[in-house]
Amino acid sequence: MLKYLGRRAIYIAATLLAISLVVFVIINLPPGDYVTALRARYAVQGQGLTDADVEALRVRYGLDGNLLQQYWNWLTQIVLHGDLGMSFEHQKPVSEVIGARLGATLGISIGTLLVTWALAFPIGVYSAVKQHSIGDYTVTTIGFLGLATPNFLIALIFIYFSVTWFGSVPSGLCSPEWCDASWNLGKLLDLIGHLWIPMIVIGTAGVAGLVRVIRNNLLDELQRPYVTAARARGVPEGRLLRRYPLRVALNPFVSTIGWILPLLLVGDIVVGQILGLPTLGPIMLGALKAQDMYLAGSIIMVLSVVTVIGTLISDLLLGWLDPRIRLGHQR
């Protein structure tokens, strides 16, 4: 187990380093740097910056050396001071801009993840156990559609029906009358009333994908010799399903944390944009469009780190669940 943990740790450190490199490249892709952009902005406002000012600013932001030095500066600033650079758009440190919205984003994402699991697991199991039933065909069809429909399209369809039926679109996370109220049942209900649309839109692709994974895995497992063998020993059917194949089929389910988290976060970009949620999505889109690269790059960095952490959690859970992995026996 320790060896396994050690391997994972090294792997994750390398991954984080790779991510930081990629993000740094992205930040530096557009022509000009932060100071050039700042200079242009001041010029528009009629305030010229002298070359000396520019040089001073460059030194201050660590933009004076060659690219490798810059990368080193940027990385050490992040690691040692949590300083992600300045947002050009917001005229604030990036960490402040992100920090203000990270909570709501993670909240919605994790909430959606839980709902996704709660839905996908029973549906997937049902679909596999009752293979070739009408229910199974329905589930499979909806699953195919869910995977083939871009989530912004689902959002648009929701909005269309919402407007034609209710005459408006629920936007934000709370209605005006509840936003400043202290927490009580009414506010909670209001929050839930606002949350279900983003959750559905963000979660659809996830549910569809997961149901497919669970169904296929369970179908595979149900054909294994150990199922027949257990039946031959007199293990009752219900227990047989729970104790044997379901347990095995759970493994890939856990390992999906890694890929489903970024999916949810990206869903947030789309939905947050349409529904005006106080999440990272709309900020990121704004930053990308305005080429506010420190902010955009940092959000990509944060999303990636969250993903890596998700992968780590799922790896640890897998090791805990599956003795083959824990005991270093690859089959």
Partner: protein
């Protein structure tokens, strides 16, 4: 390319008796097996049709992709009619659509259109319309369908907020979006093959390094990476450059999965017993490569390619819809759907979502063909 593979099998003529099965070639077996997958077969036809439309865009679209009719913005779809009872002569045969009457809301200033049975717009097949050059070579002016008088409005799927014909735009968008998917996957595949070949040829530490690099690439979540790379593109790029760079970005991010798939398939195949036994039977290495491995390999690869195209298409659509991918005047499905983003517009013009329907159909079709190919790739399995 998937389509070509499935349609170009002349052996399709039927009888798959048991005796034939024993002597059938790999391709025949794959084709027979594929045919059983009915959804896949229908999907192959859908993709085939799409291919034809893409090739002859200019002919299939009633109007040019730059055609704009400011008189009719956000006009609803018209119904194609075969006869007419409201005309001056009573009942009358003839393909036509009804023209529009417009009405402006005095407060919101919004114009709404309604079909006007009085105003008959004659429609014909192979009508003369805007001139174009087929494949950039053959000048022509015929369109599959269009108004007899090019000045008349004929908008079978309605118009956009800019007053462009949604149908014509859709035809051109299909060319762009589908080709991004296919070209992107081919690029990714080429990259994967080259690196996979290097990896396989040199083996040892080079293989190791390449595998580790692929693993690291895979660890970086792809979608934020797409967004970041696309956003870093200068805003003033020409549409064509942008098209190719976006495709390249999509391919760059997607190649790792394909490279792994190819390498994995190849290694798995090398260990298969039929390969060993062919070698033991004294077949030359070359013969084993090309006669035994490649045929069973290519079905798997076609399946893998076909299954990667949907995610590529969906990525392009999402990127363009977000405003980070292709931009007007280029038209793709994502660009078209931007029109529907404002809920005030969408609520009055649901037809703007039609491109979305096409996205879903095409994505499903690629998925089904891929599934069918994958199942058919092991013809002896059942």
């Amino acid at each position: 390319m998937t389509v070509k593979e499935t349609e170009a099998s002349p052996e399709s003529a039927g009888a798959e008796g048991n005796g034939r099965r024993a002597t059938a070639s790999q391709r025949q077996l794959v084709w027979w097996s594929f045919k059983k997958h009915r959804l896949a077969l229908v999907s192959a036809w859908v993709l085939g049709f799409m291919l034809v439309v893409i090739a002859f865009c200019e002919f299939f679209a009633p109007f040019d992709d730059r055609h704009r009719d400011s008189e009719y913005t956000t006009a609803p779809p018209q119904v194609l009619k075969l006869w007419d009872t409201d005309g001056p002569d009573g009942f009358q045969w003839g393909l036509h659509v009804d023209g529009y009457t417009s009405e402006q809301d005095p407060r919101s200033l919004r114009i709404t259109y309604e079909a006007n049975p009085e105003d008959r717009v004659d429609v014909g097949f192979f009508v003369k319309g805007e001139e174009y050059e087929l494949f950039g070579l053959i000048p022509w002016d015929r369109h599959l369908i269009g108004p007899e008088d090019p000045e008349d409005p004929m908008y079978l799927l309605g118009t956009t907020t800019d007053g462009q014909d949604l149908l014509s735009q859709l035809v051109y968008a299909t060319r762009v979006s589908a080709s991004v998917g296919v070209i992107g996957v081919l690029l990714a595949f080429a990259l994967g093959i080259v690196l996979g070949a290097i990896s396989g040829y040199f083996g040892g530490w080079i293989d190791n390094v390449i595998q580790r690099v692929i693993e690291l690439f895979m660890a970086v979540p792809s979608i934020p990476l797409w967004l970041g790379l696309a956003a870093a593109l200068p805003a003033d790029m020409s549409p064509v450059t942008r098209y190719f760079i976006i495709t390249t970005i999509l391919a760059l991010v997607a190649w790792t999965g394909l490279a792994r798939e190819v390498r994995g398939r190849f290694l798995a195949l090398r260990g298969e017993e039929f390969v060993t036994s062919a070698l033991l039977d004294g077949s030359s290495r070359r013969r084993v490569m090309f006669r035994h491995m490649l045929p069973s390999f290519s079905s798997h690869i076609i399946a893998a390619l076909s299954l990667s195209i949907p995610s590529m298409i969906l990525a392009e659509t999402a990127l363009s819809w977000l405003g980070l991918g292709l931009r007007p005047p280029a038209v793709s499905w994502g660009v078209q759907l931007q029109d529907a983003s404002k809920w005030s517009v969408l609520s009055g013009a649901p037809w703007l979502l039609i491109p979305g329907l096409v996205v879903v159909i095409v994505v499903l079709a690629f998925n089904f063909v891929g599934d069918g190919m994958r199942d058919a790739a092991d013809p002896y399995k059942h």
